[in-house]
Amino acid sequence: MNDELRARVLEAAAAEPAPDRAATRRREFLILAAGVLWALGVFWSAGGARLGPRPDALVLATFAGAVGVALIAFALGYARGGSMLGRRGLVLRWTVFGAPLAYMGWKILWSSTYDGMTEEWPDRPGFRCLGLSLRVGVGVFAAMMLLRRGRVAVRHVEQGAGIGVAAGMITASLVDLWCPVSHPEHLLIGHVLPALLFAAAGALLSRWVLAVRRGKRG
């Protein structure tokens, strides 16, 4: 019985070629690149970077901070941290809520050092940024979810949320170059909310997209 099962398993594996690490990395690079190209394409079609009326130094500082938060969110929310079991649930949960707050705090902190940079823009409550962020980020989000499709064996809900917030923070760093408003309410609606929506989408879709499931190819 054991020999028969062994032969069956080995035969099934031999009949279904699976890419090795090098081929997988090439595939991952291409898929991530496609997601990033999507994001850049939507961003440029919306007009690209718009620096004024902000001082160049402010734009540089807030963009650098946003990129830093995005890198940390990517490392903690998407990357597996050297373990096939992924990050601990506590790390993922802290990332989901901590990364958007860190971005918002950084943006307000730096903007407040310049006169008038945190004032409200009545005609810019944040919905344009919300729409742009969702359009920009959906490609990155889809790419990252696709790369983990059927592979998450534990904590798939938290992992989905982590992937979503990582995509959201990458998006926020790009949209930061486009949006001159640093009013807290605007930031919440236009820049933090998209990340949380991606996180929610990742969590909701995790069972069908990310989780290891019977009869589903990983």
């Binding site: 099962l5 890419p19 690490r21 090098a22 990395r25 096939m84 534990v154 019977r214």
Partner: protein, 191 residues
């Protein structure tokens, strides 16, 4: 503290999986030979039929095969395989509307030993306790749950469990102790 699956001491299974990830197709048979016996025991105890446990073993190994390109250098294959097997087991039981019972009623009912007859009241109390234990196990960190299951449910010694997981005896004891303490604390709180 080292993660359960980030080990200093590597097992033959980990070495074989690393070779397989790099493209050595012949290494899959070695991976199978090293981890299948543990997975078989794990699945056999938790599956309703032998056929189901064999199917789940095959699916677990195929998931490992398909995911070979994503295997992280230096990580451990056995905890990963256990996690996949458990996930597939949950899926199988979901379809049959039955949760995988890591702890059975007979394990907790003092008057329900093999061949024994228990009163309906004792059975009801045991069943509620069983449900509580399984719920707590589900909520537990993966590392503690695996250690508890290997020692308490599979009956492995600490040395055997440490060998399967590629970690130290001390680490296994610590994780199992934390699992026991969590169960004791929560069950005592409910009493």
């Amino acid at each position: 503290m080292a993660r359960l699956d980030q080990i200093a001491a590597r097992t033959p299974a980990d070495d074989a999986m690393e070779r397989y990830a790099r493209g050595d197709d012949a290494a899959f048979a070695v991976v199978y030979d090293e981890i299948a016996p543990y997975l078989r025991r794990y699945l056999a105890r938790r599956s309703a039929t032998d056929e189901l446990s064999q199917d789940l073993l095959q699916e677990t190994m195929l998931h490992i095969h398909r995911g070979r390109g994503s295997f992280i250098a230096g990580s451990a294959v056995l905890p990963w395989s256990y996690a996949i097997a458990r996930r597939l087991l949950c899926d199988a039981h979901r379809h049959h509307q039955r949760r995988p019972m890591m702890v059975e009623v007979e394990d907790v009912c003092e008057t329900c030993d093999a061949g024994g007859i228990a009163s309906p009241e004792a059975m009801m109390v045991a069943r509620e306790l069983c449900d509580d234990v399984n719920r707590l196990l589900d909520e537990m960190p993966e590392s503690q749950r695996i250690a508890f299951e290997l020692l308490r449910v599979d009956g492995a010694s600490t040395q055997e469990a440490a060998g399967r997981l590629g970690t130290s005896v001390t680490a296994v004891k610590l994780r199992a102790h934390r699992a026991y303490e969590a169960l004791r604390r929560n069950l005592r709180g409910d009493a």
